[in-house]
């Protein structure tokens, strides 16, 4: 979570004012002039593309299921099998592509619930203050004190391991970060004139929270989501690596690393290739998130 280096941004802002560019043009200029965000966007788009069109792209779509091809088991990476094959002869490249479907599904599932919930609590705590703030923020502190992976392990273990339960466990822990972030932003915005003006003109609590304050949080939320997406993938992969997430034969990247690691070091590609595939996706979301952060000039 590096902070944007202020000097570079300032100089660009000055430049923008001189030429009187619109803020959208300026943001795009910043995004474009940062090579890492372009690379990040490219990686993220490629992962999404592979996931959506997996059945069309995968050289061997049947490898996604419990397909067996013993003649080709443990084949090293080659022209036919780009990432090699696994212990029952399935094409690892095809499985990785289908694995991205599972990973992105997890991201959508987790962030689809955790972000609205966390943002809502953060708005409540920041806007109302007093005991609302006390209760919500202390509860958030407690949730943050639980090592997330340990907690998720416990939850998935008790609720029998599968994709949905992994999703539930991660969601239960993930909202806290959004609550904290939004709380901090709202708290700072409360002294702004526009909030005061809305209050004076008799706007409802609902209006001030969702029509005045929330739009000011949107850029921070979108940066956070992009950074989060990578870490949700990591988290889900770690869970299934320990055998507590997605169950075979569903092609999940973490499970593939775990199975592959049984055949180390001779058949190294079986663990390494899915591992690098996870790394690739996380790298993409991270670079993109960093780029967006510099572009929108927010602190997350």
């Amino acid at each position: 979570m590096t902070q944007p280096s202020g000097q570079e941004l300032n100089s660009e802002r000055d430049l923008g004012q001189q030429r009187s560019l619109t803020s959208g043009q300026m943001a795009w200029f910043r995004f474009r002039s940062n090579p890492s965000s372009i690379i990040g966007a490219f990686i993220v788009l490629s992962v999404i593309f592979l996931a959506i069109f997996a059945p069309l792209i995968a050289p061997s779509p049947q490898s996604a299921g419990s397909f067996v091809d013993f003649i080709n088991r443990h084949s090293p990476p080659s022209k036919d099998f780009w990432f090699g094959t696994d212990n029952v002869g399935r094409d690892i490249f095809s499985r990785v592509i289908f694995g991205y479907r599972v990973s992105l599904g997890l991201v959508i599932g987790v962030l689809g619930f955790a972000v609205p919930f966390g943002v809502f609590l953060g708005l409540l705590a920041g806007y109302f203050g007093n005991w609302t703030e006390f209760v919500i923020m202390r509860f958030t502190d407690i949730m943050l004190a639980i090592p997330p992976l340990a907690m998720a392990l416990a939850i998935t273990a008790v609720l029998s391991p599968n994709l949905i339960n992994a999703m539930i466990a991660i969601t239960m822990l993930w909202w806290t970060w959004h609550t904290r972030l939004i709380y901090r932003i709202v708290k700072a915005q409360m002294n702004e004139d526009y909030v005061e003006a809305a209050k004076v003109s008799g706007a409802s609590h609902f209006h001030i929270m969702f029509r005045e304050l929330l739009p000011n949080c949107v850029s921070a939320i979108s940066v956070k989501i992009s950074l989060d997406a990578g870490f949700v993938i990591l988290f889900g992969a770690a869970l299934s690596f320990l055998g507590l997430g997605v169950q075979p034969p569903t092609p999940d990247l973490g499970t593939m690393v775990s199975t592959g690691s049984e055949y180390l070091p001779e058949y190294w590609w079986e663990a390494l290739m899915p591992g690098l595939a996870i790394l690739y996706a996380i790298l993409g979301f991270n670079l993109l998130g960093d780029g967006l952060r510099d572009m929108m000039d927010v602190e997350v």
Binding site: F139, I146, A150, P265
Partner: protein, 340 residues
């Protein structure tokens, strides 16, 4: 300083009690009957009922909660189904190994990331800066278990000096009975052979564990150093002719170390989480290995114990860092002390 410490301790107690209650509630609301799980699917309904009685599961919720908290204060975490020993004994047995691993990891993080961050800030926009940027990015985006596997691969092919599993060679016949940390005890007892062996065992797992934190802390240190370098008093110190070395490490780093230390504290939670995975890969005999084993066996008491202990670990690490920050930066003491 005293009021500050007192306030931090009260907050800590609140967080701790909240944590215990929360974990208890989660363990109780999950579907599945703990008595049934303990006895297995073959037990009769009557046996399950007797077990429920014995485990106190038929008591009202608040009575259960009270008994649980009361037991907790006395260090009673119940019995493990897996080992049929008190959970607390199991955890205390596994804790030193984890503690050693985590301590060594944090040591690596501080000694590697802060100097590298300072270097990146001093030689800003040079190749040093770019190099550390790439290193930190790799560290942040590589999942702990992937890095662990890559390191194991390298070790088994290239660097056979580093063993890929375990904590110390059992053939060395060494009993760490002073601090229970092998690295330290072997030094105290003057067993250099044990020290070298333990070091070679701990090195790879702790690198795998440290990487994410190193990446983050390095970048934070860099931006904090750059921010501080714009302060007037730094300019003034330079004008007075104070040596650059003193300005950088004595004045700038002191203020700039607040941000990286805070991040280290917050990152501690994911460090413990990652320890689960890394210990698993390297067969490190710590609390995480115990945790994973008990989780797979649905050993509820042990699971609760492990989560609770890792939470306590995290809370204490943050208290320690808070105190450290209070010493480094008095403003922190006032700010944090008054708001809580």
């Amino acid at each position: 300083m005293f009021t500050y410490l007192l306030k931090r301790t009260v907050t800590l107690l609140l967080v701790f009690i909240g944590l215990a209650i929360l974990i208890f509630i989660i363990a109780r609301i999950v579907p599945g009957d703990p008595a049934r799980i303990a006895l297995g699917p073959l037990a009769s309904a009557q046996q399950v009922e007797e077990m429920r009685q014995e485990m106190g599961l038929n008591d009202p919720f608040f009575v259960q909660l009270w008994n649980y908290l009361a037991g907790l204060v006395q260090g009673d975490l119940g019995k493990s189904l897996l080992t049929s020993r008190p959970v607390i004994d199991d955890i205390l047995g596994a804790l030193p190994a984890t503690f050693e691993l985590v301590l060594f990891t944090v040591f690596l993080q501080i000694t590697l990331s802060i100097p590298l961050g300072v270097l990146a800030a001093v030689y800003r926009d040079s190749w040093v800066d770019n190099f550390t940027r790439i290193i930190s990015l790799i560290g942040v985006v590589t999942p702990g278990f992937v890095l662990a596997i890559i390191l194991q691969l390298l070790a088994s092919y290239q660097f056979s000096f580093f063993p890929v599993t375990g904590r110390v060679d059992p053939g060395l016949n060494f009993e760490p009975d002073i601090t229970r940390l092998i690295l330290i005890d072997s030094l105290i007892k003057g067993r250099s052979d044990v020290f070298i062996d333990a070091f070679s065992h701990i090195f790879l797992p702790s690198i795998a564990l440290a990487a994410a934190g190193i990446g983050q802390v390095m970048r934070i240190t860099r931006s904090a150093m750059i921010e501080v370098s714009r302060f007037d008093f730094i300019e003034a110190s330079r004008a007075y002719g104070i040596p650059e070395r003193v300005v950088t490490f004595g004045y700038m780093l002191r203020i700039a170390s607040v941000a990286p230390l805070t991040i280290l504290g917050l990152e501690f939670a994911s460090l413990i989480g990652n320890a689960f995975v890394v210990e698993f890969v390297f067969s490190w005999p710590g609390i995480a290995s115990y945790g994973v084993r008990t989780i797979l066996q649905k050993d509820l008491n042990a699971v609760i114990g492990v989560v609770l202990v890792s939470g306590i670990f995290f809370v204490f690490a943050n208290l320690f860092i808070d105190i450290l920050l209070g010493i480094i930066d008095p403003r922190h003491r006032i700010r944090e002390g008054s708001s809580k």
